[in-house]
């Protein structure tokens, strides 16, 4: 208001300095930004775009790339491992959710009630998360050994028959889920625990006065109060587990009989073992689209609930 009422001459004199200052501020700002911008541009944004382009091309890095339409997708579709890869990935995600989503929440509920050994329990449950994943996976490979592995020894101790674990089509996938749950449940547990501790105690007291028992209190207070974090974690976990790679790569190589082949593993194989990078890209693009649906829901949920 005051600048608008100033005499014209005065305004003219001020504007260049203001403009110069704005330009200078922007230049400094982009100076600070340039390192990160270059990294993001080369290693995040450009690959995203290139993922789409390469899916529709045939490239051998000697000749100029050739547009081939949907040919890469057709190659991938006709692969006998294509359907198992998606089914296994979906199954793995589902089982990993059943174990890796429900167990950490129940664990957090119980931990929240305990008044002793809290620091120890929190530390211990997070310990496997800190191991390098390769270490956890190779450790379980040893445990799963049908002859002298720890698991069959324990089963034998209870006079139960040993299992074939990774070597049988019926148990291989669930074996991978167990490794994955063991390695990752710590973070979920601690996040739920943090969420549980934010629930105001008045709510429980009020519910108790109304005569609600323990399970009713959990059902009507605890779960609704942690609904947002539960939903967010669900989506994050779907996105994380759908990219399962290291477990099949190190433990089973996709076998036996394609029973543990997953989408990312197949993608890796196309690029580095089958010498058909573009088919791998096509597969990657499909997975990217699926995951983006979940990501979009995640964005929706978290935006609706924080504003």
């Amino acid at each position: 208001m005051t600048t608008a009422s100033l005499p014209v001459a005065n305004r003219r004199r001020r504007q260049p300095t203001k403009l110069r200052r704005a330009v200078r501020r922007n230049l400094t700002a982009y100076g600070f930004l340039c390192g990160a911008l270059i990294c993001f541009a080369f290693f995040s944004w450009y690959p995203m775009v290139r993922q789409v382009i390469l899916s529709f091309q045939k490239t051998n890095f000697v000749d100029a790339p050739e547009w081939v339409g949907l040919k890469n997708f057709r190659t991938v579709f006709s692969d006998p491992a294509f359907a198992p890869a998606w089914i296994n990935t979906a199954m793995f995600t589902l089982l990993a959710l059943l174990c890796g989503y429900v167990i950490p929440f129940i664990t957090a509920l119980v931990l929240n009630e305990l008044r002793h050994a809290r620091a120890y329990l929190r530390f211990v449950v997070y310990l496997p998360v800190m191991l390098p994943p390769a270490v956890g996976v190779l450790l379980f490979q040893w445990f799963y050994n049908p002859d002298y592995g720890l698991f069959n020894q324990v089963l034998g101790f209870f006079h139960l028959p040993g299992l074939q674990w990774l070597n049988s089509t019926s148990t291989a996938l669930i074996s991978l889920v167990i490794v994955s749950t063991w390695m990752n449940m710590g973070s979920g547990t601690l996040i739920y625990l943090a969420a549980l501790q934010t629930i105001p105690s008045e709510l429980y007291e009020a519910a108790e006065l109304d005569g609600a028992g323990l399970f009713k209190r959990i059902r009507h207070i605890t779960i609704p109060q942690t609904k947002l974090i539960l939903l967010v974690m669900l989506l994050l976990q779907i996105v994380a587990t759908m990219q399962v790679f290291i477990e099949p790569y190190l433990l089973t190589g996709g076998g036996p009989e394609n029973s543990t082949v997953t989408v990312v593993y197949l993608m890796y194989q196309y690029a580095f073992n089958f010498g058909s990078l573009n088919a791998g890209n096509a597969l990657g693009l499909m997975l990217m689209l699926v995951l983006m649906v979940f990501s979009a829901i995640y964005l929706r949920v978290s935006r609706d609930n924080t504003v």
Binding site: Y30, F40, L131, I246
Partner: protein, 327 residues
């Protein structure tokens, strides 16, 4: 019983203590400390401090402690002691709970056979460089976006955060090609540390965490410095960074630990066995090693991250919950 009639609500633990004193007065029981009911949770504090409630509480506590120890500590114990056993002892049925001879030969063999010293050195180099670059680039970027607010700053931020929506594994093939032949420059970064360092700095989550923290720094603080004639760089260095230590700690640890634990990316971009990181090195040789040597190498590979966890437990957990509250 009396507790329930005395008072509802928060003061529940106060009336319970005289009750316990009375009981303690009886000869056969020494006065016991009531279970702390300072934090109200789903279980009612009154129920918790009845005899019945106490019994259940202690049973549950023992079950939880035992099962957690069995599930999460015992495998590590098995790993550490397994590396001390000979191959024959490892294959014996039933297994031995303690190694027959205490010897560190497995560890020494692992160190030599797998050249763990070199692998650890490589990994330290990757993690250290990634840390430096991440701090330098992401802190200055977050500062610019938060405090200098350039034109299109919001767009840049949105683009950076959008990378959180697309997991890095999904774009691993085109990212691999970029590293193999960087556009415009035509550098081949394969088997160089830059292949780890540069992509590590492109971390939208770090930018998000840092920017959110910088947003909470009051403007007046920075303006005071500006009036004293400090340049933006000077403000960042002398005002913002000193008060941002907590978040810098979180970002540093997340970065180092992530690079240390990463598997897929180093598998793609560091195929040369002289350049491998520890996870890849062990995994690539795992099938050729005797079991006890392999297990010993697993122990050695996990020591650094476990030590970091012991020391920086607080920061790591803070980073975890910060991550869950994003959005």
């Amino acid at each position: 019983m009396s507790n329930a009639t005395v008072t509802p609500g928060r003061s529940a633990d106060a009336p319970s203590s005289p009750g316990w004193d009375e009981r303690g007065g009886r000869r056969q029981r020494r006065p016991r400390k009531p279970i702390n009911t300072q934090f109200r949770t789903a279980v009612s504090p009154h129920q918790l401090n009845t005899t019945h409630g106490r019994i259940i509480y202690w049973i549950v506590l023992v079950i939880v402690v035992v099962s957690f120890t069995a599930a999460f500590v015992f495998p590590l114990y098995w790993m550490i002691t397994g590396a001390m056993k000979s191959t024959e002892e490892l294959n014996s049925i039933p297994p031995t709970f303690l190694p027959e001879h205490f010897s560190l030969d497995g560890y020494l063999q692992a160190w030599d056979l797998l050249e763990l010293g070199r692998l650890l050195g490589n990994t330290a180099l990757y993690a250290g460089g990634a840390w430096l670059l991440t701090i330098a680039f992401d802190v200055s970027a977050a500062y610019a976006l938060s405090k200098l607010r350039p034109v299109l700053g919001k767009v840049v931020l949105a683009l950076m955060l959008s990378t959180l929506m697309i997991p890095p594994l999904v774009i691993m093939l085109p990212a691999y090609l970029t590293v193999k032949d960087v556009p415009f420059f035509h550098w081949d970064l394969l088997n160089t540390p830059w292949a780890i360092w540069l992509p590590a700095a492109a971390n939208g989550f770090n930018v998000f965490l840092l920017k959110r923290f910088f947003d909470s720094i009051p403007r007046e603080l920075l303006e005071a410095a500006e009036i004293d004639g400090a340049s933006p760089g000077r403000v960042l260095w002398s005002v913002v960074i000193p008060i941002s230590r907590p978040i810098l700690g979180v970002v540093s640890i997340l970065t180092v630990v992530n690079v240390w634990r990463d598997f897929v990316w180093p598998l793609l971009v560091l195929p040369d066995s002289d350049r491998m990181s520890i996870s890849i090195g062990i995994a690539s040789l795992s099938s050729q090693m005797p079991q006890n040597v392999l297990v010993a190498s697993l122990v050695i590979a996990s020591i650094p991250t476990i030590v970091v966890f012991f020391i920086f437990q607080r920061h790591i957990m803070a980073g975890l919950t910060a991550g869950s509250l994003k959005g």
